[in-house]
């Protein structure tokens, strides 16, 4: 898939497949149906200790179909796109629909909500890189990491991934839409050692276009610097203290927030932000917004997983929760309107503050800077939060020493209310954009 004509040809072939699926569903008696088809090809390779370790050529196809018989539904999916597999999948979905219960909220999104225009969001920039050039880039990246300091003693390698693909969605309202996308990344993970203790860390860069990636050497150097900065890490005693979540880990707090305002969590009453619409969930200065049609955005799409037009909106403004994240099913369950978020949020961002990370450390004075978290200790029903952490102990705004083998705990509702400042040091890779977060107080468990 290296040129546009081939892509256009592919696009029309997959669109045909979607309409075949919908026609087959109708033929088998379905009153409504929706289908998605995707096709992706790429190259993943790893260079380790100066030599090629793995070269993987990936080629993934998939289709999924959901059929409705009145208010009962059934689904099927397959990695095999042959005509026989298409018929078998539709048949399996139709059979399942005989046994699911009629559900008044089930069905396609309303026809008038379908996206009418599909602007080009500039998401397709295939990288015409051959294996040798990719190996060269990986080698430069890893060499930069290994060469930075003699305490970098080992490596998990540098990996380059490049993928380009197509996704087409259609439903029996007559909607068919699709767009090609590309995604490239370069990452590096190395190991530092001091006395007996080893520390691993990594860095990565990702983008729609190869031109958006950080330089290979910079990626390697950052990975090495991060691994070196962890040497000599110690455990601290149990205490309460303010905490800064460095921007690249602060993204997980935003992910917990969006998880709590997802329609499925709300109608199941399994969210700590149940019934919080139009209520204060963050301090006044907080604005969180979604920009799904951002040009070249990694999360961008003109329509959601149900064909509904996406649109930019504030989820939080002046600290007040302004919108949930709904698809048509959860919207009907809640007696509301879909927000065009079937499939999740796209390009979420919290407005950055004035202080860069070092200024934020000064603002905190004495406390913990968290640079990595471990484990799944987030209870979405209660908001109770307890996770493994490592980072740095900070006094008078200056980093003192690295820390590890500790936990940080609190409750997300309070953590959100106790957000004192968001940094200007925005993490821009990926679907969530945020600066570092300064939280007034958390419990740290250690020795």
């Amino acid at each position: 898939m290296s040129n546009r004509e081939e892509m256009i040809e592919r696009e029309s072939r997959l669109e045909q497949l979607v309409s075949d699926l919908l026609a087959e569903a109708k033929k088998q008696g379905a009153s409504a149906a929706e289908a998605g088809v995707s096709s992706d090809a790429g190259l993943s390779l790893t260079v380790r200790m100066g030599d090629v370790e793995t070269i993987e050529h990936t080629r993934d196809n998939g289709l999924g179909i959901t059929v409705y018989f009145g208010q009962s539904k059934g689904s099927a999916s397959t990695s095999d796109l042959s005509p026989q597999a298409v018929r078998d999948s539709v048949k399996a979905a139709c059979n399942i629909a005989k046994y699911t219960t009629e559900d008044a909220c089930a069905g396609l999104a309303d026809a008038q909500l379908m996206a009418k225009e599909l602007p080009d969001l500039d998401l397709y920039h295939p990288w015409d890189i051959d294996v040798d050039a990719a190996i060269e880039l990986g080698t430069q990246c890893e060499d930069a990491a290994r060469g930075l300091d003699s305490r970098i003693v080992n490596s998990e390698g540098a990996s380059l991934n490049t993928h380009a693909g197509l996704h087409i969605y259609g439903n029996s309202h007559g909607f068919v839409g699709g767009y090609p996308t590309s995604r490239h990344s370069l990452s590096c993970a190395v190991i530092s050692q001091q006395a007996e203790a080893m520390q691993r860390d990594y860095w990565y860069t990702v983008g729609c276009a190869a031109a958006d990636l950080e330089a290979a050497e910079a990626v390697g150097q950052k990975a090495a610097q991060r691994a070196l900065s962890r040497l000599g890490a110690r455990k601290i005693s149990t205490r309460e203290a303010p905490v800064i979540f460095q921007s690249d880990v602060a993204t997980s707090l935003l992910r917990s927030f969006t998880g709590a305002i997802r329609g499925a969590a709300l109608y199941r009453k399994s969210s700590f932000l149940l019934d919080h619409l139009d209520k204060k969930v963050f301090p006044d200065f907080v604005r969180i917004h979604e920009n799904p049609r951002l040009l070249r955005g990694l999360g961008s799409a003109a329509f959601d997983g149900e064909g509904v037009a996406t649109k930019a909106k504030d989820l939080v403004s002046d600290g007040i929760l302004k919108s949930y994240i709904l698809g048509s099913y959860s919207a009907r369950k809640l007696g509301m309107q879909t927000t065009g978020n079937a499939g999740g949020v796209r390009n979420l961002a919290i407005d950055p503050g004035e202080l860069d990370r070092d200024a934020l450390l000064k603002e905190m004075g004495t406390g913990l800077l968290v640079t990595e978290m471990m484990g799944h200790g987030v209870n979405m029903v209660t908001g109770d939060y307890s996770r493994g952490a490592s980072g740095f102990w900070v006094e008078q705004g200056e980093i003192q020493y690295p820390v590890e083998e500790i936990t940080i705990a609190g409750n997300l509702k309070q953590i959100f209310q106790q957000l004192l400042a968001v940094g200007s040091d925005e993490e821009c890779r990926g679907n969530i954009r945020t600066g570092s977060w300064l939280i007034e107080n958390m419990t740290i468990a250690g020795s």
Partner: protein, 495 residues
Amino acid sequence: MPSEAVCSLPSQIEIMPDFIDIARGVLLEPAGLHESDLERVLDQLLSYRIDMADIYFQAGRIESWVLEDGIIKEGAYNIEQGAGVRAISGEKTGFAYTDELQFPALLEAAKTARAIACAGEQKRIRVSKTLPTERLYQPINPLSSLTEQEKVDLLRQVDAEARRQDPRVKQVIVSLVAAHDVVLVANTDGTLNGDVRPLVRLSVSVIAEQGERREQGSGGGGARDAFSYLVDQGRALGFARDAVNQALINLEAEAAPAGTMTVVLGPGWPGVLLHEAIGHGLEGDFNRKGTSAFSGRIGEKVAASGCTVVDNGTLPGRRGSLNMDDEGMPTQNTVLIEDGILKGYMQDRMNARLMGGVSTGNGRRESYAHLPMPRMTNTYMLPGKYDPQEIISSVEKGLYAVNFGGGQVDITSGKFVFSASEAYLIEKGKVTRPVKGATLIGDGPAVLTQVSMVGSDLQLDQGVGVCGKEGQSLPVGVGQPTLRIDELTVGGTNA
């Protein structure tokens, strides 16, 4: 020290060559492929200077059903089918795959994969050897082991059982999943081996409400068996009661303590400790590369005397068990730690060869589209001599944790976490009040040296474990007897 299998299930091992015939019938015959075609593909691979290559064929079917709000809300059917071709030269691996089970597609994948090495002289392969395989489960298709009506009826019964327990139960979600995986592996060493892998699982998640407070609880289980496993002995209904109990206990839970203290772990699922703290660190790839906190430590004392930990893929019917691994090697019972001494690693073929050892039958992959790696099967600690009650009585003040969610480990630093979902305080030798879930954190190579009492009550988990590594998810099992750990850091909010 004992290296025999310890398991509550009856052992019924037979030598059965018929898996491979079923696999041939499902994977090769419909495509008109013969063993001579596989030999031609392997010949193509060996025309380059490679040490080993294999072709992995897979036909997987997964069916799932979800009950929510008292209705059968969703059902889904998934087909995953294809072949992966891998070529290894030294430490290098080339890999390509196709979802078309046709000769030209296989040949193209082989040409792509072999590019990792340079061209060499032509060799000829004959696949004929088939390794004898122990039958740890029947070659059945669990999807058809109940009718659709019986499946949805089972879901409704589980829902009713959960709601019947207590009026505070407000939300019940039940999911039922069956998978049928047929695989065939042809290797350039001439081996051809196949497996037919059934897997069923039922999961229950409930929300209980009391005043303003809502708490969740979960339960579930499964096996490499037909759906009858879930129905027999009222197991499915038992999972519903487990979920409700956990939610009701959590309604009463107070803030968990924060700090380092004595922790008693209950039997069974808390064995996720072993999986995180030592299991991943003993996988061969990390040790070959020297990136594990356990690298180069074979023969050293890494646990208290009395601690013996094994990875055993040969327990009949268990979720983590396999007749053969995904490289066609028979699974085995591998001693990792024996009476406190580090004994061995878990190996796949490539890492074993590079480290001068042999595969331990731990080469596993998520699907044909993923590369195999050393992975765990069922990882557990053998029982000791203490009565569980005696262990609890020995603790003046501490935490008793009986159920866990997931965990995670940093292989290199050895630091690991696992998160309790049901825990209690121990005060003056008695289990007193329930506390909220909390994450526990420790150091892998050090934590087992803190084990001062090993219970006599070995249990394996109920069969719901999933392990993720480098983006690949696999079913696994864990287990342990009640353990007293003298010092472990508990991440509550009550400092």
